[in-house]
Symmetry: C2
């Protein structure tokens, strides 16, 4: 003891920063370690978590669910109108699907309202966006999450009956998932823009382009998406905010299919010129592939695997494999990002879109090591990108050997978020995303990085614990 006081003290402070600050202020040397109690220091939730961590039923359920993720073989099998693929949009029903968990029109953020108004005009249910807003506000158009219909949509995530949707089928289990077409960047419906030029592009996409691409998709020599996505991860994509390589690889396949068709040359040319000019074209297919993958793992009783993460611009919602159709929500986080000139975080809508299905499947932010250009959005370095991927290993059930990342020595991407691990460690799933203006009609104003809120995982774990009460152990 006497010797201790003769030495210089080397202090490690775990947790509250204030203790460390005082030592430093007194001239001492201190190393601060970030730490917070598990389960957000909620004692009851902490007990539930501790029980679930020790529960072999959860491990076994997760093993089954995770195996279904890894075994998924998503294939791009069709492009059809939404009303012909999604029962809830068929038969002349006035229903529109949106991103994120359920939300009433009155509570929606600006870009989601703007996009819905645009879609109502696109469908011909109203002649102007003003009339469209009145229709939506009056409850005359049903508004439901894409995820309630086996679908996903980026940003506002609007799917209305006359829009084309990609059909991705998981060859392993036969389940299908749907996503709308990518319109390109700038003033586009998914960022809440709804000007005449936006609707005109939608009409071309839903008409001539749809016709050509349906022929192309049905004529693909190779419809397997997993190898294409794996290759794109070796070419700088993380398949959420960066899809340049995957779009290029798909462009090759579509070109060969279109040239083998008897489609008019001008039609083929315009379709391919549109795809060639849109490096995000593959995003929506990546999302459908991830949705088909995670849906395969959904519905395993007792599983704490996260099968959905989605945002509606107000709330962030997740679903677990073991808790069925329940959503667990919390206010969506703002996005740390690079804003286009003239815009700042004050102009931004909160985190928005179903595209976090890519992170749910181990891509996007989880695969950021593959795509160092992404962290440049937030002033980061390639080392930060790799650190982001490595940190996700703390909260995932394993790595996906089908999706390897060169900067991790070709190790697999962290995949399969275990809600227990998130709540225990406080490490939040990292999400790459675009940023929409908070007002309707403006569009994209930036891109960046955010996280899923911890509270979603607390709610999910509490519900999972309840679901297992009274079940045979």
């Amino acid at each position: 003891m006497k010797a201790l006081f003769q030495q210089d003290l080397k202090v490690v402070n775990v947790g509250l920063q204030g203790f460390a600050d005082n030592i430093a202020a007194a001239g001492g040397s201190v190393t601060q370690l970030t730490w917070a109690p598990p389960a957000g220091a909620d004692a009851a939730l902490g007990w539930s978590l501790a029980n679930l961590v020790a529960d072999p039923r959860v491990d076994e359920a997760n093993r089954v669910a995770y195996q279904r993720c890894l075994a998924a073989q998503p294939r791009l099998v069709d492009l059809v109108l939404a009303r012909d693929a999604i029962a809830g949009l068929g038969g002349g029903q006035r229903r529109i699907l949106h991103a994120g968990p359920p939300i009433a029109w009155a509570d929606m953020c600006g870009p989601q309202r703007g996009a819905i108004a645009g879609a109502i005009v696109y469908e011909g249910w109203a002649g102007s966006t003003e009339d469209a807003e009145a229709l939506a506000a009056g409850g005359e158009v049903a508004l439901e999450p894409c995820h309630h219909h086996g679908a996903v949509g980026p940003m506002a995530g609007i799917i209305s009956p006359s829009m084309p949707v990609w059909v991705v089928e998981n060859a392993d289990r036969g389940n299908r998932a749907f996503c709308n077409l990518n319109e390109g960047l700038g003033k586009v419906l998914r960022f809440g823009a709804n000007s005449p030029e936006v609707l005109q592009r939608l009409r071309w996409l839903g008409g001539e382009f749809f016709g050509a691409l349906q022929v192309a998709v049905r004529g693909l020599a190779d419809a397997d998406l997993k190898p294409l996505m794996a290759q794109a991860l070796h070419m700088g994509d993380e398949l959420h905010n960066r899809n340049a390589a995957a779009s290029g690889l798909l462009f090759k396949r579509l070109t060969l299919a279109l040239l083998q068709s008897d489609l008019d040359r001008g039609v083929v040319q315009r379709a391919l010129a549109f795809i060639a000019g849109n490096d995000h074209f593959f995003l929506n297919i990546s999302m459908a592939a991830c949705k088909a993958t995670m849906d395969a793992a959904h519905g395993v009783p007792g599983s704490s695997l996260v099968t959905v993460m989605a945002r509606n611009g107000v709330d962030f919602g997740i679903r677990l494999s073991g808790t069925g159709d329940q959503w667990f929500q919390a206010p969506a986080n703002p996005v740390d990002g690079l804003y286009f000139p003239g815009y700042s975080v004050a102009d931004a809508a909160a985190d928005l879109g179903d595209s976090a299905i890519t992170e749910t499947a181990g891509l996007g932010g989880f695969a950021m090591a593959a795509s160092p250009a992404i962290v440049q959005f937030v002033g980061g370095t390639p080392a930060d990108a790799t650190a982001n991927s490595r940190r996700m290993l703390d909260i995932t059930l394993g790595v996906n050997p089908a999706f390897t990342l060169p900067p991790l020595n070709f190790g697999g991407t962290p995949a399969g978020i275990d809600a227990r691990l998130v709540l225990d460690s406080g490490v939040l799933p990292v999400i790459n995303t675009g940023i929409a203006h908070r007002l309707a009609g403006v569009g994209q104003i930036g891109a960046g990085i955010t996280t899923a809120p911890l509270a979603c995982f607390g709610g999910a774990i509490a519900a999972l614990a309840r679901s297992l009460e009274g079940q045979p152990a």
Copy 2:
């Protein structure tokens, strides 16, 4: 001194490994540093080198030459038959260009002989490869390096009058460079194969395909190669052994140009199917772009900048900007690589081809950090790939800010080899390459990594020193 002998010794041994081994054998702790005397311990050459290192004329000449490299703006301006682009192949002359420094038929390696025999049959100068070999052996066909005619060719590097060549023009200085078409992988002329199927593919490439691609190249909306190559470096290419991304980016440009032409649809389809199936298609364009870049820097008196590195399967030759058309040669090194099943280094020809022009311009092995998949050929890791690029900083005049590498924090690729630095440090330029079978007619048997021989740089430095003797200082 007394204190020294009371401590544990920590020994650093510089140079000969034997001293370190003895210390370790005696139970001591030793750190071994690799070191060898400059200029291969040749005293006279060492003096010449020391004088050139201190000579401001060389620094100023290098500044001028290097600036021309950086300012180069290679553009893909045409595809024409070699006889219409290269004076030495026009007017019915029986001349064939080959890779590497000059070499007589009798001294050539198997794959180069095989490729020349194939080209002679392709030109119709002989009816069989046996007759063709007799013709070449009898001196009835002139054989000269591509580099003597402003051209480059990968592996055997054969360019005969009726073969199409890419025309790349450096918009900065107006100089042009040429390269033949890439035939794909497997049994191809550039690896020494010359079977009927090889010649049949060459005839299609020189006929229908040539006609289509000439129209496409002349109709390109964007002919600039530098931005495309920069983008490919962010997508896993190093633009020598890996060209998948660049080939994909070019495929998009060519597709749009072809669809705007009035070419027959079947012709367009076959042309694009060939390109889509060949991830090395861009290699030959990368080489022509690098040749146009380095030619712009050639011919600056006093400059120790390496403007050519090329191999003929027997010897490795380099040229310096300041020593005109002189070649400085040494036996080519073997290649450390991954061999196709059934083959080993015993079956391999020595290092072969003009493709090291990519390393000369700061790509290929110098840009290996961008392309970690390449080091997997030799059992290496992504960290080794990055280390290779970093090591090249020791022997280059700077970095090329137009070609940035994500794993180097988006720093530029090391570019502009200074022969003084190579000879002084003993650090050898690293080269990624394919491996040809040593016999004619077999083809590719692997791919890997090798280095330029030090002796080339010794000869070059001695000649540069002589060229400056008696010149005003």
